[in-house]
């Protein structure tokens, strides 16, 4: 177990380093001068002032130096300065994290609450009409663009209830109800999508387990169907399900990007889109790195959980 963990940790670190290089390189080779971007809000380009700004921002140094400076600063918590805000990037990003985190957790909750039970039902009633209906329903969730679902929800509310959800962030202290709605609607839109994959994995994992001999033995022994399913099958099917939940959590950010935009929530994902459109490279670089860290950490967590739950790994090969 220990070697397994150490291995996974080592790989995680390597991956992070590799990603930092990729992210850094991608953005440096992008078309468009950083200085042009700064000038763009001035609607003005001046060759003489260009040199001064490049020096001020530290972008006249060779690329490799810039990279190592960035890494060193990143590790000490200095994420550089945003171009648009002229403020430390971390100060700009930090207030956004709780919003995205809350949305991510809520979405995962919706996904699990929706996906696991439907997967179980679908497996139990395999190949019946109910199974087909549920499978189509969940596949529809995978097919609909999350942002479209969000737009349709808002449109529905506006057209039929004549009610527009709050467009600016409402804290729970101000109004718990409005806050719940404000986060609940996008969580539904994103969660529905995630639930699809969870449902499919739950269903197929359960199906595979149910084919096993020992399940049939338990059945033959006469215990009621429900106890058989819950006690034996779920316990063994839980491994792949947990794995996919962990993966979905990390990849949720894709759905959050558009949903935060549509519902106007001041989160990390929405800000990423803005920063990309403004070409605010320090922000983009650091946000993408932040996302990478989250993804890799949660993959690591899933790996550890896997290692703990899978007896083959737990007790060594």
């Amino acid at each position: 177990m220990k070697t397994y963990l150490a291995q996974r940790l080592g790989i995680a670190v390597l991956t992070l380093v590799g990603m930092s290089i990729v992210i850094f390189a991608l953005l440096r080779f992008a078309p468009g001068d950083i200085v042009d971007i700064l000038f763009s809000t001035g609607g003005y380009v001046n060759a003489e002032e260009r040199k001064a700004i490049m020096k001020e921002l530290g972008i006249d140094k060779p690329l490799v130096t810039q990279y190592f400076e960035w890494v060193r600063n990143f590790l000490t918590g200095d994420l550089g300065k945003s171009y648009r805000y002229d403020q430390p990037a971390w100060d700009v990003i930090r207030p956004l994290i709780p919003v995205t985190l809350e949305l991510a957790v809520l979405s995962t909750l919706v996904a699990v609450l929706l996906g696991v039970p439907t997967g179980v039902i679908s497996a139990i009633r395999q190949d019946t009409t109910l199974d087909y209906v549920l499978r189509v329903f969940s596949l529809a969730g995978l097919s609909m663009p999350a942002f479209w679902l969000g737009m349709v929800i808002i449109l529905g509310l506006v057209s039929y209830l004549q009610w527009i959800p709050p467009v600016t962030y409402v804290s729970p202290r101000e109004s718990l109800w409005l806050h719940a709605v404000q986060f609940g609607l996008p969580a539904l839109a994103v969660g529905y999508r995630s639930s699809a994959l969870i449902m499919r994995i739950t269903r197929s994992a359960l199906l595979e387990v149910m084919r096993e001999d020992y399940i049939r033995t338990a059945w033959a022994k006469g215990q009621s169907e429900r106890i058989v399913i819950w006690r034996h099958a779920l316990k063994n099917a839980i491994l792949p399900v947990v794995t996919v939940i962990g993966i979905e959590f990390a990849f949720l950010i894709g759905g959050l990007v558009v949903t935060e935009n549509v519902f106007n929530l001041p989160g990390v994902a929405r800000f990423l889109v803005q920063a990309i459109l403004w070409r605010d490279y320090p922000i983009v670089q650091n946000l993408v790195m932040f996302i990478a860290v989250v993804v890799i950490l949660s993959n690591l967590f899933v790996d550890m959980l896997y290692g703990f739950l899978d007896p083959r790994v737990r007790y060594g090969n």
């Binding site: 000038f39 763009s40 700004i53 600016t168 106007n264 001041p266 459109l277």
Partner: protein, 537 residues
């Protein structure tokens, strides 16, 4: 007294009282103090409150409540002109030496938001910095409006409450430029970089909090130099990036006031239907749709081809298609009654693109044929455009029009962040552009957009003869003569067609009925201090 006289007197008194009572609503209710307003912001501040380092209304307008100018356009008057200029930090001013020296006598009771007193040193500091004077005490990172003050020889502050601008040659327009929303006064004791993250001004509101991406919150300045103002306790600019969401927020009352220039005709109709009591103030934005063409490269170095493009685009059709009627015909300067230097519709009717579409297109084809372009050998060009909806709508219509006269264009989207650099470098053939004028002044327009060597003269149009015309009108002191010169210049510019103007945008500036004392101007940059605005409930 005799009885009849008594009766007459009583009747007279009664009429006076009743008349007075009846007239009161027409004069207006008494302003109430208190309350806050939520105002729409269409994007977050770029470079914070550093108005002198940016050229975007996204920064200048939300910063207005924090700052004061030397002089400003009267907030209560819709049309900005030399006659509507009132003093803010300056109590009085006077031109001397035949419009070569401008003297300001400053108020003595003004304090900065951090308590320090305001003096002439702050004015000299600000404008020396903006014009990049050699002995300026501080430097801006960039100064986009440096050329507004190119004519300033020297700024003097002989005593703490007097400032003198000494010019190289007479320029009456300098006052107009100082009155623009783009000309606030910075504090000399605050480094200019600090304005990118916060705001120390002398304006009616103090900055309370700027939560990035969410809102900019102001509170009432208790030491404001105009006693009894502002009426409001606070204002909050709420950042909403999606257009549909913005309108929805206004509709549902989550916002009280729209952002200047953001209420198009369709939005207006939707809001009106949903909220019948919503107030709309149709004004011109002093933002024009235009086509820029690179005059230094083929095919648009040929003036006939440029003129053909201008003929081909049906102006009225554009106004209907791209603006749903929310725009007006106009050339380089804003037409009456929105501005004072524009051409009348009868003058415009003779310009290319303003006549009957079939005739105009026929004329365009004729011109193109002279340049060797026919339906058999069409011209293929790349139209550059910013990747924003309002630009794309205009471009889509124009592409369709050009197709009908034999010019095939493909769209090339340029990111907003690259637009100015690309256009300034001349890295394009033809482009769909929007131009906003900081102030309704011929000098600001001509020198910025049509003068040889100006970085925002994207077409790189350069005519010595026209430059001389610019200089002549700039020094003309008689307003009537000057207006006639300006109209002639506009005709000339449309004939040379480096930048054919397609339409002047309208804004249906929307706000809820409980917002009082708010007057929209025919210019998106010059109003929104909110110092005379109050809430009715």
């Amino acid at each position: 007294m005799r009885k009849p006289m008594l009766v007459t007197l009583a009747a007279g008194l009664a009429i006076a009282v009743v008349g007075g009572l009846a007239l009161t609503p027409a004069i207006g209710q008494a302003p109430k103090s208190g309350g806050t307003l939520n105002i729409m912001a269409r994007e977050d501040l770029a470079q914070g409150f550093a108005t002198h380092e940016t050229s975007t209304v996204a920064t200048s307008t939300p910063s207005l409540p924090c700052f004061s100018n030397l002089v400003f356009f009267d907030p209560g008057k819709k049309t900005d002109s030399m006659d509507s200029i009132v003093g803010e930090l300056a109590e009085k001013w006077s031109w001397q030496d035949n419009y070569k020296n401008l003297v300001f006598f400053l108020r003595k009771d003004v304090k900065w938001h951090d308590g320090k007193p305001f003096t002439s040193k702050d004015v000299k500091h600000t404008f020396d910095m903006v014009r990049e004077a050699p002995d300026a005490p501080a430097k801006l990172r960039i100064s986009p409006r440096k050329d507004w003050y190119a004519n300033v020889e020297h700024i003097e502050a002989p005593d703490p409450y007097t400032v003198v601008f000494r010019l190289k040659r007479p320029q009456p327009s300098l006052l107009l430029m100082l009155a623009s929303g783009y000309s606030p006064v910075y504090a000399a004791h605050v480094p200019p970089a600090a304005y990118r993250t916060g705001c120390i001004g002398t304006g009616p509101f103090k900055l309370k909090e700027w939560r990035k991406g969410e809102f900019i919150e102001y509170v009432k300045n208790p030491d404001f130099y105009v006693k009894g103002r502002p009426y409001l306790d606070g204002i909050r600019y709420v950042v909403i990036v999606e257009r549909g969401t913005r309108t929805a927020a206004l509709q549902s009352g989550q916002l009280d006031v729209a952002f200047p220039g953001e209420t198009g005709r369709t939005a207006m109709e939707q809001l009106k239907k949903a909220v019948p009591t919503m107030v709309f103030q149709p004004v011109a934005q002093n933002v024009s749709d235009n086509i820029i063409m690179n005059t230094k490269k083929p095919p648009f170095d040929n003036p006939k081809v440029r003129l053909a493009v201008s003929y081909a685009i049906d102006r009225r059709g554009l106004i209907q298609a791209a603006h749903q009627g929310g725009a007006v015909l106009g050339a380089a300067m804003l037409p009456r009654p929105y501005g004072v230097w524009g051409m009348l519709e009868k003058d415009l009717a003779a310009l290319p693109g303003y006549g009957k579409p079939e005739d105009m297109k026929a004329q365009a084809k004729k011109l193109l044929a002279e340049a060797g372009i026919t339906a058999q050998s069409p011209l293929k060009v790349e139209m550059s455009v910013r990747a924003i909806a309002i630009y794309l709508d205009m471009a889509s219509f124009v592409i369709n029009e050009l197709k009908q006269v034999g010019i095939e264009s493909t769209l090339k989207q340029i990111e907003t962040a690259q637009w100015h650099a690309t256009a300034t470098r001349g890295d394009y053939q033809i482009g769909a552009n929007l131009t906003g004028l900081g102030t309704d002044d011929p000098d600001a327009n001509f020198y910025e957009n049509y003068a040889c060597g100006s970085p925002r003269n994207y077409s790189q149009y350069c005519s010595e003869e026209v430059m001389r015309l610019f200089d002549r009108q700039s020094q003309e002191l008689d307003v009537k003569k000057r207006t006639a010169m300006v109209i002639d210049i506009q005709k000339r510019l449309e004939q040379d067609a480096p930048r054919p103007i397609l339409a002047q945008r309208l804004d249906y500036y929307a706000h809820w009925a409980h917002v009082k004392g708010l007057v929209a101007h025919n210019n998106v940059y010059n109003f929104s201090r909110f110092q005379d605005v109050w809430r009715d409930k």
